[in-house]
Every structure is written in structure tokens, then in C-alpha cells.
């Protein structure tokens, strides 16, 4: 992953003529990825008549987009040197918490905010155990994965919560479209662009790269590396909360068993998509899915 880190620096200033540009293009990891995806695309179009239809494309794009929000959080966490196995459970828990609050008469927007806050708190707990107690991310997030899933099942009795009475303006964030473009995809693009910009330009996220590149050297550069890791851990869970809420709006229900195995997709997408949050993240997810 460290190889990719250098790519987030400003673009190399030295490319002269078109041949150089072409060489650089071929050297880029993204090019290989695009070729794989194109190949898959062509094969799939021949394999199934339903593959290359507008509906399928739209459904696939929406599915990528939602998980893509979690991938953004995971990517940042991976860059800082952590990992989170609990993303699937925490996303489901976000749905369940918001769903239960809504069924108990809380306004869905407030319920969503509380739910995202809960997820953020879960992230903070994981951050505490990894940075202050000194446990490994893998262990801590594995425990949270099981605990959060248990909480989901406990809260719902194992059955999905039907949320048919959600107001249409809430459902809009999951189901609506602006023109032909689903809101979900707009949200995803906004999240990716925003975090991409921040990762490349802000001092705050530069410290994430320093920490992930060499934690000790970062500490010897006066960076509070534990704080950085704490924050990236928390951010990842918070973004799971956001994704969970949008899922709820999309499905009109809260499913306690949602997102089992999601961590594999997300981590794979984050790794393939590269720990550099460029536009290829989206392609990375696409690749991971198409391959699945």
C-alpha cells in the first residue's frame, strides 16, 4: 500500500511530450484496473442479456455507491495503518437504531442523527482500545463486529423492521433521483470528491499519510500518531453510520442481518482501489463487484 502513498503527492511535474504522458498512463496502476474491468464488462455483456441494460447498470451503480461510502472510511483507516472488520455490523446497527427510534415515535431525521452519533461512539471505543489500551485493530474490530451484530439481533428479535411509514422526503435520499441520477450516487460522488480533496490537500490528512508511512518517524516529527489513528478509526465507523441510514431510506426497512461479509468487499475494494483516494476508487469497487 505504501507504494500508492507517493501518488497522492502533487502530480509529477516532469512529464514532457505525449509519449511520456502515454508511458506514465501505462505505468499507472489504474490503467491495469480499467483494462480488467473493460474485459469483464465485455465478457459479462455476452454472458447475460440482462447485464448491459440500463436497469442493471443503475442498480449496480447504486449498490456500489452505498458501499463506496464505507470504502472511503476504510481506505483512510488503512492508510493510517489500521483495519476495521466491524463495518458490516455497524452499518446494520445504524439501520436498527434509527429504525427502532423511528418506530418509537422519534422523527426520522433526529433518529438518523442519533444513530450516526452512536456509530461514531462505537468508532471512538475501538479507537480507545487500539490507541490507549494497545490492542490490535483486528482483535478490537472483530469483537465489535460480533457485539454490534448481537445488538442488532437483540434489538429486533432477528426480524427485519418494516418502516413503511417513513416520510417520502426521507425515503428520497435512498430512492429518489435528480433527473436520471439517483441521489445515492450523488451522495457518493460528493463524499469521494470531498475526501479526495481533503486527503490530498489538508494538513490534517497529510498526517494520516505520515502516520501510515512510518508511525515512528511520524512520532519523531511531532505528530500525535495515536490521535491520528483514533480519529481515522472513529471516522470509518461514522461513515458506516451514514451508509446505514441511506440503506434504511433505500430499503424502507431495517435489516438486522444486513451487511454480513461486507467487510471483505469493502477491504478488497479499498485495497484494489488503492489507498490513494482518486477517482479510481469507484472503479475499484466496480472491479471487486464484477469479480464477485
Amino acid at each position: 500500500m505504501t507504494n500508492e502513498l507517493s501518488q497522492t503527492g502533487p502530480d509529477m511535474p516532469d512529464a514532457a511530450g505525449p509519449m511520456d504522458a502515454l508511458k506514465r498512463l501505462l505505468r499507472m496502476r489504474e490503467t491495469g484496473l480499467v483494462l480488467i474491468i473493460l474485459t469483464l464488462f465485455i465478457v459479462m455483456s455476452f454472458a447475460s442479456p440482462y447485464f448491459l441494460t440500463w436497469e442493471n447498470m443503475r442498480a449496480m451503480a447504486m449498490a456500489f455507491a452505498l458501499e463506496g461510502i464505507v470504502v472511503v472510511g476504510m481506505t483512510i483507516l488503512l492508510i493510517s495503518g489500521g483495519i476495521d472488520l466491524s463495518v458490516g455490523s455497524v452499518t446494520a446497527l445504524a439501520m436498527v437504531i434509527a429504525g427502532l427510534l423511528f418506530l418509537n415515535g422519534v422523527d426520522p431525521w433526529t433518529a438518523s442523527l442519533i444513530s450516526i452519533a452512536c456509530c461514531t461512539a462505537i468508532g471512538a471505543v475501538m479507537g480507545f482500545f487500539t490507541t490507549k489500551v494497545g490492542l490490535h485493530h483486528f482483535i478490537v474490530s472483530l469483537a465489535i463486529m460480533v457485539i454490534a451484530r448481537g445488538a442488532c439481533l437483540l434489538g429486533t428479535g432477528g426480524r427485519p423492521l418494516g418502516l413503511f411509514t417513513l416520510p417520502p422526503e426521507f425515503k428520497f435520499i435512498g430512492q429518489g433521483s435528480v433527473g436520471v441520477i439517483p441521489v445515492v450516487i450523488i451522495v457518493f460522488v460528493v463524499v469521494v470528491v470531498a475526501f479526495d480533496f481533503m486527503l490530498r490537500r489538508t494538513t490534517m490528512f497529510r498526517k494520516v499519510f505520515y502516520t501510515g508511512s512510518n508511525e515512528k518517524a511520524a512520532a519523531y516529527s511531532g505528530i500525535r500518531t495515536k490521535k491520528v489513528i483514533f480519529l481515522t478509526t472513529t471516522l470509518c465507523s461514522a461513515l458506516c453510520g451514514v451508509a446505514g441510514i441511506i440503506y434504511m431510506a433505500r430499503f424502507g426497512s431495517a435489516q438486522p442481518t444486513f451487511g454480513i461479509g461486507m467487510e471483505l468487499n469493502v477491504i478488497a475494494a479499498a485495497v484494489i482501489g488503492g489507498a490513494s483516494l482518486k477517482a479510481d476508487d469507484f472503479l475499484g469497487i466496480l472491479a471487486a463487484y464484477s469479480a464477485a
Partner: protein, 500 residues
């Protein structure tokens, strides 16, 4: 010592793309001799060693081993011929035991599918006992760098070599450990094993080697019997020009000042160091000497807020400081250059510019926290030019640079915050003679410009050559101070090891 030749290399060349790393090189190694190889970084020493060890294949030329022409296609073949190579970079598996590391090569070829740990550990302990007091069952991770280096050497010793290549084996060793290593080298040589010894330290070459061959810019320059030459002749052959003075001028009498930049009083962490008090005067370079493990680095890291629970007062220009975290220290202009530039000094995979700005990224960012890459680049270029940094461009990863230039990036990182006091821990470890002299000159220039310089070094000639005054640490306390004509290796060693 017989004069029979075990290895003869003639007219050997090796290029990497357009770069000619070795040009028609000749080299001859006799049975049972200790043969030093000297040359600046990039002179072709490592390339030649890698060819001998089968890691690289030559483009042309001939290798004759024990009278027969050979092609060494891989390190495994080199091992079969009896060539052992102790690399400068430590290449051990940190999470398995010392014994397993030592026998990594042999477990690889053992017939039995099961490991026989007790015999493995016993054999490892036998080899180790010759070298140092290291527990064969300990995990490599738990050892210090110098102990790890000894494990590397033990590993090579178990291979039954006829030629042993040691690439800067003493860079991480204490003088005492180095002495033990030299004794072992002499014993091995008496048994007829030939040793190729690569080092930047002239004193070691002249005390322990039989012959010395100098390389420069990929070419063979000269081979001398050590008894018939002297260090300055070798250094001149290495750099191809006459270096009259390895060290810059010292502070002159009228540059001396009584103004203290930094005052440290009764600093203690009740664990590694106790009751440390000293003053750093304006314009001087203060040295800190002592054995490895005496607490030198710990004191300095304690002052900077990098580690330890430290009590005592630190004042900068007469004002007491409250440093809780290294960030506070950087904000006051007190910075620390770590002794292990690869381990904790640099972000090797990141661009040079991002390394230079790491101490205070805010400096190259707007007030809202957005990094301005143009300013970041300019900063790196300005500081880089000041240090005579040689690189393709400043967006190259640091890992692409030579050791000396990497060290300059590490120093550039310090200078980017316009520091008032710089602590440098082993500033020239693993750096070639040319870059070393340059770094020393830079330090003197900084001191002249009013920056407080403190140099920790295990190399006594460096301390004596560069510093105006040296504090000697023994077991966490200042055991003495030397300056002027008092600064001799004997005096410092005495204070470091025995003085009350």
C-alpha cells in the same frame, strides 16, 4: 598467511541501464587475508559484492574461484562455493528466535520435516557464545541493533565459509563489540578463511586488515598493503582529490561566547538518566559521548519530550520551557535528528518534499489547513540547495537516494522549521567520506549562524574533530567534560567506561 589466490576477478563490468556501476574491475583475494574495500557510496563496492554473492550477474569479465572459472548464478550457488555475505542492512525475521534466524539457511535444506529445536538452540548458542552474550531463544525483535548485527554475523559463521564478506559490520556496534568481532575475524583468517571487509572507518581498516583496495566511480583504483600506506593516501584515492581537512575549522577564540542558548538543570527520568545539567553556549558545537546504552539518546529525547517521564528544568535563552510533547519542542525550535534514519527518521516511500515539510506541514499550508504543493516544493528546494542535496527532483521518493543524501533529507527536515537548537544523534552513520565532510561543514555553518548544535556520536574521531566541547555520559550521568587539547580518544573512553 599464504599468498595463494582464492578469488580472482578480472575485467568485470556491470551496467544498470545507462549507468556503468562497474567498469573493467580487477580484484584479487588471497587465502586467509583480511582485505578491506574502501570507496565512497556509489563507488561500486556493493555492486561488486553482489556480483560475488550471485545476486547480480556481470555483463562481462571473469571470476576465478580457487583456480577454476565459475559463474555464480545465485546466492545459493555462492553459498555452495562457501561465500558468506553479511549485509549492512539487517535482514532477520524479527518475530522468530535468534536460533531459528541463525539456521534459516540450513533449515531450508534439512531433510527432516520436523524442527529439532533443542539441538538448533544448542548449536546457535555455541556460535553465539564466541561473539556475545545473546540468548539463542530470545526473539530477534527484542534485541538491540548491535545485537542483531552480531546475530547476522553468527549466521554467516555457521555456513562454513571460505570467503566471508562483511559490509560495514561495525556501523551499529559498540567499540567493545567491534573489538570482539575483530578478534574473531583474525581467528577466522588464521584458519584460512578470507575476509572481505567493507568499512568507511579508516582506523578499523588500518588496525585490522592486511590489504586494502580502493574503488572510485565504478573503477578499480589501487590495492595497497596496509603496512605500506597511510589513511590520508587511501582517503585521497577514494575521493580522487586531496581532502586536506576532513573536519571543518573549530570555533575560534573570538567566536567564543558566554551566552547560553540552552540550559538544562537536574534533568532526570529516574530510570535511564539522572541529574543531568549542562549548558549549550552560543556558536559552539557540543558533543555528547559515551558507550551505546549509556543514556545519551534518552537524555536528548527526554529534553525534546519524545519519551520518558522527565523532571528538571530546560531553559531556552534564559526562559524555562514546559515541554510535554515533541510538538511543543518543535514549536520552540528544538528538534531531534534520530539515529536510525530508516527506522524512525524518514518516510522512505514518500516524496522528498513531503519529508522535508513533515515537522510542520502547517508552514506550507494556508491558514485553513490546505497544503500548497508549490510552497512545499519551494521549501524543499531551498533547504535542499543549502545542503547541496543531490536528487533528480524533489517529488522523488526518499528511498531512491543514496545514504548520504537520505541523511541530508533528514537534516533538511530539521532545518525547515528554522530551529534554534538541533540535537543530532549519530549524524553521519552509514554516510560516505565526502558527504560526511559536507555534513560536518553544514553543522559548523549553522553553529556560526547562532543555531545551537549538539552532536551525539559513537565515533570518537568525529566527536573530537567536530565538537568544541564534549560531555561524556556513563550509566545515565555526566561523568566528565573535555574541551580543547583535553579532547583525546583516551580521555573520552576513560570517562565513558571507568571514571568515577
Amino acid at each position: 598467511m599464504s599468498s595463494e589466490t582464492i578469488l580472482k576477478i578480472s575485467d568485470l563490468s556491470k551496467s544498470f541501464g545507462p549507468i556503468k556501476a562497474l567498469r573493467n574491475v580487477d580484484f584479487e583475494l588471497r587465502r586467509g587475508e583480511i582485505h578491506a574495500i574502501a570507496g565512497e557510496n556509489g563507488a561500486g563496492k556493493s555492486t561488486l559484492m553482489n556480483v560475488i554473492d550471485g545476486i547480480l550477474q556481470p555483463d562481462s569479465g571473469e571470476i576465478v574461484f580457487d583456480g577454476k572459472p565459475v559463474k555464480i548464478a545465485s546466492p545459493t550457488e555462492a553459498q555452495k562455493l562457501g561465500i558468506g555475505f553479511v549485509h549492512q542492512e539487517i535482514a532477520l525475521c524479527p518475530d522468530v528466535t535468534v536460533a531459528e534466524n541463525i539456521f534459516m539457511a540450513t533449515t531450508n535444506v534439512s531433510r527432516s520435516p520436523l524442527m529439532n529445536y533443542s539441538s538448533l538452540e544448542k548449536k546457535a548458542q555455541d556460535v553465539l557464545s564466541k561473539l556475545a552474550n545473546i540468548d539463542a531463544t530470545a526473539l530477534v525483535r527484542s534485541l538491540s541493533i548491535s545485537q542483531q548485527q552480531l546475530v547476522e554475523i553468527a549466521k554467516a559463521l555457521t555456513l562454513d565459509c571460505r570467503i566471508l564478506i562483511l559490509d560495514e559490520p561495525t556501523a551499529a556496534l559498540t567499540d567493545k563489540e567491534a573489538q570482539i568481532l575483530f578478534e574473531i575475524m583474525h581467528k577466522l583468517a588464521e584458519q584460512g578463511i578470507s575476509i572481505i571487509y567493507i568499512s568507511h572507518r579508516m582506523a578499523e581498516i588500518f588496525e585490522n586488515c592486511d590489504r586494502v583496495t580502493v574503488f572510485r566511480d565504478g573503477q578499480y583504483i589501487v590495492t595497497h598493503n596496509v603496512a605500506e600506506t597511510n589513511p590520508s593516501e587511501i582517503v585521497n584515492a577514494m575521493v580522487g582529490r586531496v581532502i586536506d581537512n576532513l573536519y571543518p575549522d573549530k570555533q575560534s577564540a573570538d567566536e567564543k561566547s558566554d551566552t547560553a542558548i540552552l540550559q538544562v538543570e537536574n534533568l532526570t527520568d529516574n530510570n535511564r538518566f539522572f541529574d543531568v545539567s549542562f549548558e549549550l553556549k552560543k556558536g559552539e558545537i557540543l558533543g555528547i559521548g559515551g558507550l551505546i546504552g549509556a543514556g545519551r539518546s534518552e537524555i536528548v529525547r527526554g529534553i525534546c519530550g519524545l519519551e520518558g517521564d522527565v523532571s528538571g528544568t530546560v531553559s531556552l535563552n534564559g526562559e524555562p520551557l514546559a515541554i510535554k510533547h515533541y510538538q511543543d519542542s518543535i514549536a520552540q525550535g528544538i528538534v531531534y535528528l534520530s539515529e536510525d534514519r530508516k527506522g524512525d527518521g524518514l518516510f522512505l516511500e514518500m516524496p522528498i518534499a513531503a519529508n522535508v515539510s513533515a515537522l510542520a506541514v502547517e508552514q506550507v499550508a494556508s491558514r485553513s489547513g490546505l497544503i500548497d504543493s508549490r510552497r512545499e516544493g519551494q521549501q524543499a528546494e531551498t533547504v535542499g540547495r543549502r545542503l547541496n542535496l543531490k536528487c533528480g527532483h524533489i517529488w522523488q521518493p526518499v528511498s531512491a537516494l543514496s545514504g548520504g543524501n537520505q541523511q541530508k533529507v533528514a537534516i533538511a527536515k530539521m532545518l525547515s522549521v528554522n530551529p534554534r537548537v538541533i540535537f543530532l544523534d549519530e549524524p553521519t552513520r552509514g554516510v560516505d567520506v565526502g558527504a560526511k565532510a559536507e555534513i560536518h561543514r553544514i553543522l559548523r555553518d549553522l553553529a556560526r549562524n547562532g543555531v545551537g548544535i549538539v552532536v551525539i556520536s559513537s565515533e570518537l574521531p568525529e566527536l573530537i574533530g567536530v565538537c568544541d566541547r564534549v560531555l561524556v555520559i556513563r550509566e545515565g550521568r555526566i561523568s566528565g567534560e573535555v574541551s580543547g587539547d583535553d579532547m583525546t580518544e583516551r580521555k573520552i573512553m576513560y570517562l565513558a567506561s571507568v571514571a568515577a
